[in-house]
Amino acid sequence: MANQEPVIRIEGLKKYFSTARGLLHAVDDVTFSIEKGKTLGVVGESGCGKSTLGRTIIHLLEKTDGKIWLEGQDISDVKGRELRKAREQMQIIFQDPYSSIDPRKTIEATVREPLVVSRKFKKNEIDDKAQELMELVGIDERLRRSYPHELDGGRRQRVGIARALALNPKFVVCDEPVSALDVSIQAQVLNLLKRLQMDRGLTYMFVTHDMSVVRHISDDICVMYLGQVVEKCPSKELFKNPLHPYTKALLSAIPSTDIDHPFQREILQGELTSPINPKPGCRFAARCKYATEDCQQPQVQEEVSPGHFVRCCRVGEIN
């Protein structure tokens, strides 16, 4: 396993958007890799670039700079047929089960579409495969001719999952797939995703803002702040031993269901600053209680302990 190529590897990935007010650094210099069958959780608040990161990796958005490898193959600048081939290997499950399915297509048509578009299958093969997929994600046979609006959010999300898995991808970006669902349904979908991962050896990048969900599903976790990864380490390590001041604040802000130990919060002051034309220094410095002069300098990602990366120049002093 160790010398096998990671399914996805990105290096120095950047995605900037030009806006009226300047260059928006949505994803700025992100580097990581995900091994086969593993899940990388990406957490952060809205506007931190986590969704953009996922979309850039799978080429839904054009990157500004950086490299992307899929199973050791450089797909950074693929075009045309190569791009289509790469996309078949990488799929995405969207956040909003209401807008991510065409409201005028039947459930079956939606699940069949990737198979039809790929032009690899005959009609009866498509029929069989679509049937199989719907069974796989637990959509009732009698629902195949229904329209999305007749289904609840959880079932629609299953349709989205079936569509993403139709071409047997290796890597799936899950973009907040359970945020729009109620807890009882959320648990059903999380279990489904986990089972599919086990059965099919899928590799996930799981984007979410929900810390308890990410803790449950991820092997490793990246914490993003304004386009940059501020901390990356194995999931357990992050919750046991968070090192970056932002991670600490984020974890302490989660409303815990433990009523016997009333929160000892570090309430974070201020709000997200804008990632438009950011200054070179630490982007969290404006809200960080440990910020000093040094934080105005560009920050580098350091491996503090094996597998635990932090982007903070004062990490040694404050912990």
Binding site: E45, S46, G153, A187, S252, S256, R265, E271
Partner: protein, 330 residues
Amino acid sequence: MSENTNNAFLKVEDLVVEYFTDDNVVHAVNGVSLHLDRGKTLGLVGETGAGKTTIAKSILRILPDVGARITQGNITLDNQDLLKLPEHEMREIRGNKISMIFQDPMTALNPVERVGDQIAEVIRLHNNISHEECEKRAKEMLAMVGITEDRYTEYPHQFSGGMKQRIVIAIALACNPQVLLADEPTTALDVTIQAQVLDLIRDLRNQFNTAMLLITHDMGVVAQVCDDVAVIYAGSIVEYGTKEQIFHHPTHPYTIGLFGAIPSMSEDEEWLHPIEGLPPDPSDLPQGCPFNPRCPYATEECRKAAIPVFKTADGHDCRCCHIDQVKKEG
């Protein structure tokens, strides 16, 4: 509990609300009773479509005119029956004695009016005071929710989501209401901002001794803010008790299921324990207990008739006929 229920500040008794559409009746709220004292917070927890927002809107009497009807029940505020008040008196109560914070701060503010004026307007509406006085009070409100006075003249788009929700809270509290209905006030916000807003709400409640009904689906928010908890499923309250009773001794299978479905922050578990199945269609509720199709304890008895409320401890009500069995296994 019944002895202190009688003189509760806000009381909802046996409320039934139905929505009528062309060909069916949606049973949104089916016999809900709750009570709320000053300075206390009741958490109303449930999933989408359980009827949480409908209850809040019924209290304020802002249900849509067409199609929605309160077919049964009483709502009393300080021994005054709200459902029998004429509309013009009700208008006096809205925003003054009872006010509401809506879920989405992005749409709750008027985009073309200065935020300060939006606060001042509410104050002027309910108090017979001069323009300058209103403006002064509006500025105080802004300061109270942590926004500097000089942003009085700015427009909603110049504020971030969390700041907007603070302004919405300032508007809701502008007339020093006795009851605050908060409908998912932090759902649209990020966790770090949510923490700020929850702290703010809690501080203001303590400061003004406001009675608060907090509607949410997030058990964590309930744990942080509420004193009492009502768990609602398909329009009826299935379990009602103090926060400690609900969190330490959940008794209704649905409540237990809800806790089981949340990924734990302290233990590692391979699989989550979802509640199987789906919430029922409110226009076609199952006979008997609405939870029976999803309930692992369901028997014939649950499918026959409506389930009465059982008391498991003082102030802890549970609408389930298998309490003993649930307790034994739980």
